[in-house]
């Protein structure tokens, strides 16, 4: 029995390591490319840059059209994540705790907003945002991304909230807690994991979305993903700068996941309640 358990543990470890290698290799290849000259990238296969260069990174950090892309992206992504979580928290609580007229319909309607194929919807979005004067603003992109992030946040949070027994709410109300005080001091800490996961997904989907962000911006709020589509120069594709920019797009998200990892890893302390 113990042998079988140990073998199973070894099996899981080997599987995990194999997957991690698979996960990292393409990213390693991008990192590798970002330190090579363009000639080396397109001419030879090398596991390690033959002549190591930081030129591509220098291009990005010294050219405003490049680094402002990162700043713009971060501004609208942060705005979007904060708005999404703020409006989704009370709604998810309502869905997980009460029945009310149209609850199931509204919940499903929210989800359907994630199901609209973007290509043709771009034009009406463009017209709408031009009309209300939000074209090329950070707020405009943040609002547009709410369409797919808010439903997701509500959905994830509702799942986590439904896992918390209702007796907790009832006890708190009996003890004389008001709703806001109960929600902020007792309930929120219990679903930290859910908030962490939801915030991470909102950040991620907003960060990597290309079509809407590119359509709704031109100069002032132009995101990094749109800047990256324009690396084709006279001498062909600028692979090195593209790779360096790609490496840099992972960094902010990496920091975010580092901060929420505890929420994801700890789960919520239901066992102790």
């Amino acid at each position: 029995m113990r042998d079988a358990q140990r073998r199973a543990a070894y099996g899981r470890a080997i599987f995990l390591v194999a997957y991690l290698v698979f996960a990292v290799l393409p990213i390693y290849w991008m990192l590798n490319m970002s330190f090579k000259s363009n000639e080396e990238i397109v001419s030879t296969l090398s596991l390690w840059p033959n002549d190591f260069t930081l030129d591509h990174y220098k291009t990005i950090f010294t050219d405003a059209s490049w680094y402002s892309g990162y700043v713009n992206s971060m501004i609208y992504v942060a705005m979007n994540t904060v708005i999404s979580i703020t409006v989704a928290l009370p709604a998810a609580y309502a869905f997980s705790r009460y029945r009310f007229i149209g609850d199931k319909h509204v919940f499903f309607w929210l989800l359907t907003n994630r199901m609209t194929p973007p290509a043709v919807f771009l034009l009406p979005f463009f017209q709408l945002y031009t009309t209300i004067g939000l074209m090329d603003t950070h707020l405009g992109v943040a609002l547009a991304h709410l369409v797919f992030n808010v439903p997701l946040a509500v959905w994830i949070l509702e799942g986590f909230m439904s896992g918390v027994p209702r007796e907790i709410d009832e006890t708190a109300y009996v003890d004389g807690y008001s709703f806001p005080r109960f929600f902020l001091t007792i309930f929120l800490p219990l679903i930290k994991a859910g908030v962490g996961v939801a915030a991470f997904f909102c950040f991620m989907f907003s960060w990597v979305e290309l079509l809407l962000a590119r359509t709704l911006t031109s100069v002032n709020a132009k995101p990094i993903v749109a800047t990256m589509t324009r690396t084709v120069s006279a001498s062909g594709m600028d692979w090195g700068v593209l790779a360096a920019a790609g490496v840099l797009t992972i960094v902010p998200g990496g920091i975010v996941i580092w901060f929420v990892r505890h929420y994801i890893a700890k789960g919520f302390a239901m066992g102790r309640v």
């Binding site: 393409p26 990238i41 907003n113 009406p124 369409v147 996941i257």
Partner: protein, 300 residues
């Protein structure tokens, strides 16, 4: 636990902000699309009402049927690979300590890369002359060429999607697993339950909620996949990797057929809606059957 939730109409007050936020960007564009779909737009000033003509055209379009079949095959393959792999991955990930943190961060990396960059990375990665994957496959004696062979292209897009999105399933399941109280595992240990039984009667029922999110998200997102295959293969060779979104974009942007493209969008949307509805109800039923099973589990 399963007592009915109380009825409370005031709960609407908590939902209104969400409805406003989403409706702001959802209702008007949808209405515009419906408007386009029943008109022939010759120029911005000249429009003719054509009724259901575009819908009939779209439904009879043979190329569309092919694209739809390719899309269904691709999405089902995505689910068949990514869901089991994601669950397995979540079960294999360490529960705590620095290893757990490190694994979480590494696993999440692929999700954070913009979609056009994902396509670009794999475009290079898969080339036999300058890419690691292509060179390795060629070195092993495979005649691998994702730009020439339809099968290779399809498999490359699938592997890219697995690489890109399995972490989403794994992260959701991992968070779900961490939410299971230790008491459940202790009870199972006392009962002498096998690992498989623990998975079947404790972990799987508790993962139902997150798995539902994972399956539906992966289904709808893979059904609308556009940027990655567009960058990687451009839909080729031939039409092998031209999925629905790309076919739609060719119609809308390439030929400026706004009316038919809008009708197509609506049909597309309805297909996703229908599939999600079926999946949702099926999983809900399977889920209740599963948790009923867990109640049968002999407790000490």
């Amino acid at each position: 636990m399963s007592t009915l939730k109380p009825v409370n109409q005031k709960a609407w007050l908590l939902v209104i902000p969400v409805v406003l936020c989403v409706a702001f960007s959802a209702i008007l564009p949808l209405m515009t699309i419906v408007n386009y779909s029943v008109q022939d737009i010759i120029s911005p000033e000249r429009r003719v009402f054509v009724g259901t003509e575009w819908f009939r055209t779209v439904l009879r379009d043979g190329e569309l049927h092919d694209a739809l079949l390719r899309q269904l095959g691709f999405s089902l393959a995505v689910l068949a690979v990514e869901i089991p792999l994601g669950i397995l991955l979540a079960l294999s990930m360490p529960a705590k300590g620095w290893k757990a943190s490190a694994v979480l961060v590494v696993i999440a990396l692929s999700l954070l890369i913009p979609w056009n960059v994902v396509g670009t990375i794999w475009q290079i990665f898969g080339r036999t002359d300058i890419g690691l994957l292509g060179a390795a496959l060629a070195g092993l004696g495979f005649d691998y060429n994702y730009t020439g062979s339809a099968v290779d292209a399809w498999v490359t897009v699938l592997v890219m999607d697995v690489w890109h999105w399995t972490p989403l399933v794994a992260l959701l399941c991992y968070a779900g697993l961490r939410a299971i109280p230790d008491a459940y595992y202790q009870a199972a240990q006392i009962d002498g339950a096998s690992r498989l039984a623990v998975f079947r009667y404790i972990q799987l029922p508790k993962l139902r909620g997150v798995l539902m999110i994972a399956v539906l998200l992966r289904f709808m997102d893979s059904f609308m996949i556009y940027t990655e295959p567009f960058v990687l293969t451009g839909g080729g060779p031939g039409n092998a990797t031209t999925f629905l979104s790309q076919y739609l974009t060719q119609k809308a942007v390439g030929q400026f057929d706004l009316g038919p493209a809008a009708a197509f969008s609506i049909v597309y949307f309805l297909i996703i809606l229908l599939m999600c509805f079926v999946l949702y109800n099926w999983m809900q039923r399977a889920g209740t059957a599963g948790s009923a099973g867990s109640e049968d589990m002999p407790h000490a």
